[in-house]
Subunit: 316 residues, 2 copies
Amino acid sequence: MTAPTIQGIRAAADRIAPHAKRTPVMTSRTFDQMTGATLFFKCENFQRVGAFKFRGACNAVFSLTDAEAARGVATHSSGNHAQALALAAQLRGIRAHIVMPQNAPDVKRAAVEAYGGIITLCEPTLEARESTTARIIEETGATLIHPYNDYRIIAGQATVALELHEEIDALDFVIAPVGGGGLLSGTALATAALRPNATVIGSEPTGADDAYRSLQEGAIVPSLNPKTIADGLLTSLGEKAFPIIRDHVREIVTVDDEAIVAAMRLVWERIKIIVEPSAAVPVAAALSGRVDLAGKRVGIILSGGNVDLTRLPWTP
Amino acid sequence: MTAPTIQGIRAAADRIAPHAKRTPVMTSRTFDQMTGATLFFKCENFQRVGAFKFRGACNAVFSLTDAEAARGVATHSSGNHAQALALAAQLRGIRAHIVMPQNAPDVKRAAVEAYGGIITLCEPTLEARESTTARIIEETGATLIHPYNDYRIIAGQATVALELHEEIDALDFVIAPVGGGGLLSGTALATAALRPNATVIGSEPTGADDAYRSLQEGAIVPSLNPKTIADGLLTSLGEKAFPIIRDHVREIVTVDDEAIVAAMRLVWERIKIIVEPSAAVPVAAALSGRVDLAGKRVGIILSGGNVDLTRLPWTP
C-alpha cells in the first residue's frame, strides 16, 4: 500500500459518513484579537467518542472485507483509539479486542466496555502489550488496527482537514498536533491536494518533541521518556507518517506544558468548549508568536475533548 | 407599551443582527437516549459575553433615540446583564453606568471594565443599589435598562427562540430557565407566534421557586432568601413577564441543586461544552421525567456559560 491519495481520502469520507459527525468550525473574536489572524477551530472534541480518532478507526473497520471483519479487530491502547475502535467495531457488529495495561484508569476501561470492547489486561510494558496483542490475533484471526501507523487510519484522520477545507476557503495555514503522526500526516495530505498554497504546521509538546527532532535529523528519532500534560501526544512518530510529514509540513512548533495549559484554559473560558490538553497544543502554537499569522486565515484542529473533570490542570 | 408582538421580536432580531451571534443548535445521542426524545440545544453559552443577556441589552441600547443614547444607560447588576449592557453601550459608543455591590467578585468587576463599563460601588443591599442607580440617572440623564422588567429586554431575549424555531421545525416542547422571566416570557411569545402547537415549559431551581409559586397563586410571589447554585436565577419574577408566562407557559418544573449539578456535568462530559449552573436547569428538567418527552422534539435553551473554572461544583 502507498500513502493515501485525495481519492482515497474522499473514499474514507464516504465510508465514515453514515457514522462520524461532520463537526462544526468555530470562531472567536478573542483569539483573533490575540493573534491578529482569523482563526477557524475545527471541533473534533465534538466527534463521537470525543476525539478525531473515531474517523481513522471507523475507516479502518469499514475497509475490512466481510471475511476479515468476521474475525474481529484488535489493538493495544488505553487512550481515545481504544474507545474509537470499540465503537467502530460495534457499529459494524464485530468484535474489538482491546489490550490495556493493568494500571489503566477505571474510567478508560469502563468507556471501552460501554462500547462493547473486549478488554484484555496485561503488564504495563510495551513488550507485554505487543505480545498480548499478537497472541490474541493468533488465536482469533483478528486484524490489527494500529492507532496511527496504518494508511487506513491516516486516510480517516485526513477527513478532518478535508471537511475543514470544504467549509472554509482560502486558508493560509493549518495547524495540527502531532503524536504518532496520523492526524498531522492526514492533514498534510488533504491540504496539499485541496489547498496547496496553505502552509501546514505541526505542533508538539516540548516534553515529547520527537517529531520536531525527527524533522531536524531527517530520520525518526523515537521519544525517550516523554513527559507532558498532553497525554495524547506521548507516542513516537510512526514510519508511515514520517515521510509524509517531512515532505508536506513546513515546521513543527514546540510548546511547553505551561503554554498548553494556558491555551486550554483560554479555549474553555472564551470559546466555552471543552478541549483536552493535546487539543490545546496547536492553540498554544498559534498564540506563541513563533509563526507570523498576522492577517492570515488559520485552521486549527482541536483534536479531542476527553478530560477528567475532577482534575483540571489549573486547580491545585 | 405593551408586550412584544412577533413583529416587535423580528425588529429586535434585525436590530441586534450586526452585533449578536446567531448561536448554533447542538444535538446529543446520549441525551436523546436518556430521555427517549430528540433534544435540540440552543447554545447561548456561545453568545457574546457568554450569555443570552447580550440580546436584550443590545436591543434596548440600539432602541434608544440618539438624544437618549447620548446621555448613556444605567443599571444595577453584578451578573451577566452588567457585562452585556457594558458591551452593548460600547458598541453604540455611549456610556454604561453599572452599579455593583462592594462585595462583587473582582473577576466580575474586571469583566465589566473590560467592556468599558463605568462602575459605581455601593453597599450590598437592594436599597443601596436602587438609590445609587437613581442618583446616577438623576445626575446624568442616563436611561435605566432593567435586567428583565422591560419589554425591550423581553423582545431581545425572544430572539433566542425565534432563531431556534427558524432553524428547527416542528418542535413539540421548548424548555427555558426562569429567573426574572425575561428569557422565559420572550421564549413563550416567540413560540406562541411561530409554533403555537409547541408547549413551553419553564424550569426553576427548587431553592428559588418563586415563578412556580407565582403560577400556582395566580399572582407574583416574591423570592424570600432564595438559595441555589444557579445564581443567574435568584431574582424574582418581574411584573411584565408574569402575565405572559401565566398565559403562555404550561408549567414550571422545579429541580434541586443536586440535579442541576448532575445535569451540568453531563453536558460538559457528553456535549463537550461549558454551561453555567443556570443553563443546566432546563436540562435537569428534561432529565427529571416530570414531563413526558418520549418521542418528542424538544428545544432546550442553554442560557449561558460563565463559570469560575477554578471552583467547579463537583470538586470539593
